[in-house]
């Protein structure tokens, strides 16, 4: 049982690392400001979500782990609300400022 839980934790951690790395690579590779926000806003959220679920499972090992688990759940809920709002705020600022979105076929900026 213990070994099984450890494997699950490892898989979740590696998946979280993969999505965080994907977010970074996406920000570097995508052609303009708006498209870059997609990996930054989405993949980062899932990365943190996966890390938190790994930690949730890890807390089950300890007495009073449920206290930490409750805080982790609150953290995830907060992340789910805050991250898209930040993403939207940046996008809207760019849009109001008049930044033109990239179209297929144009050179990357």
């Amino acid at each position: 049982m213990q070994v099984f839980l450890d494997i699950v934790v490892w898989v979740l951690l590696i998946a979280g690392g993969f999505f965080s790395l994907t977010a970074a690579v996406g920000v570097l590779r995508f052609p303009d400001f708006y498209t870059r926000l997609h990996p930054a806003g989405k993949n980062d959220t899932l990365g943190v979500l996966l890390f938190c679920s790994a930690m949730l499972i890890e807390t089950m090992k300890y007495d009073y782990g449920y206290l930490v688990a409750g805080r982790l759940v609150l953290m995830v809920l907060f992340m789910l609300m805050a991250s898209p709002i930040a993403c939207h705020a940046i996008t809207q600022a760019a849009y109001v400022d008049g930044l033109r979105p990239w179209k297929k076929g144009e050179p990357r900026r």
Binding site: F18, F19, T22, V25, G26, R29, F30, P31, D32, Y34, T35, L37, H38, P39, G41, K42, N43, T45, L46, L49, L67, G70, R71, L74, L80, M81, S83, P84, I85, C87, H88, T91, Q92, Y95, V96, P101, W102, K103, K104
Partner: protein, 167 residues
């Protein structure tokens, strides 16, 4: 008034869950609990002054209907993340971005906020601008696939709000 009372109780519960130090007999913990009460009261007072809560719809009911929606949203987040990840790692860049407009018919501000956040979190779309006069969102999408998903999601949020799916 009742809404502010609910807010105060929820905030106190939030503080208690985060601090976890609730032993009235220990002086330092007594001090912390006092701090918690004071900050919860201050926040409630501020919310009262701003008058934000009166404008909301029935937010308690929306909160109670959240869990099934959250599960569905989590699944959507995983799907859309996989989609974006595939696009990121493809050797040849495969994005065809465009701006689209999508109309909404949600009543409360909270439901609009939930919808906007859900759009940003899911299928290759980010909410750019909200036109509350014409009741339209301006949405930026990575490829031209998101539109049907947006309609479906709008109806889900409308149910969350309590009304029938409009139109």
């Amino acid at each position: 008034m009742l809404r502010h009372l609910i807010l105060f109780v929820v905030l106190c519960g939030f503080w208690a869950a985060l601090s976890g130090q609730l032993d009235w007999t220990v002086p330092s913990q007594r001090y912390l609990m006092g701090c918690g009460l004071v900050s919860c009261a201050l926040t409630t007072l501020l919310m009262w002054r701003v008058g934000f809560l009166e404008k909301e719809g029935n937010f308690v009911m929306i909160a109670l209907r959240q869990p099934p929606y959250l599960v569905w949203l989590l699944w959507q987040i995983i799907i859309s993340n996989w989609d974006v990840a595939v696009r990121v790692w493809k050797p040849k860049l495969d994005v065809d971005p465009s701006m689209i407009k999508t109309s909404y018919s949600l009543k409360s501000e909270l439901a609009v906020a939930i919808f906007a956040n859900s759009i940003t979190l899911t299928p290759g779309t980010v909410t750019v601008d909200i036109d509350s006069k014409n009741r339209e969102f301006l949405v930026h999408q990575l490829s031209s696939t998101g539109e049907d998903g947006l309609k479906f999601m709008h109806d889900k949020v409308a149910k969350l709000e309590g009304g029938e799916a409009a139109e």
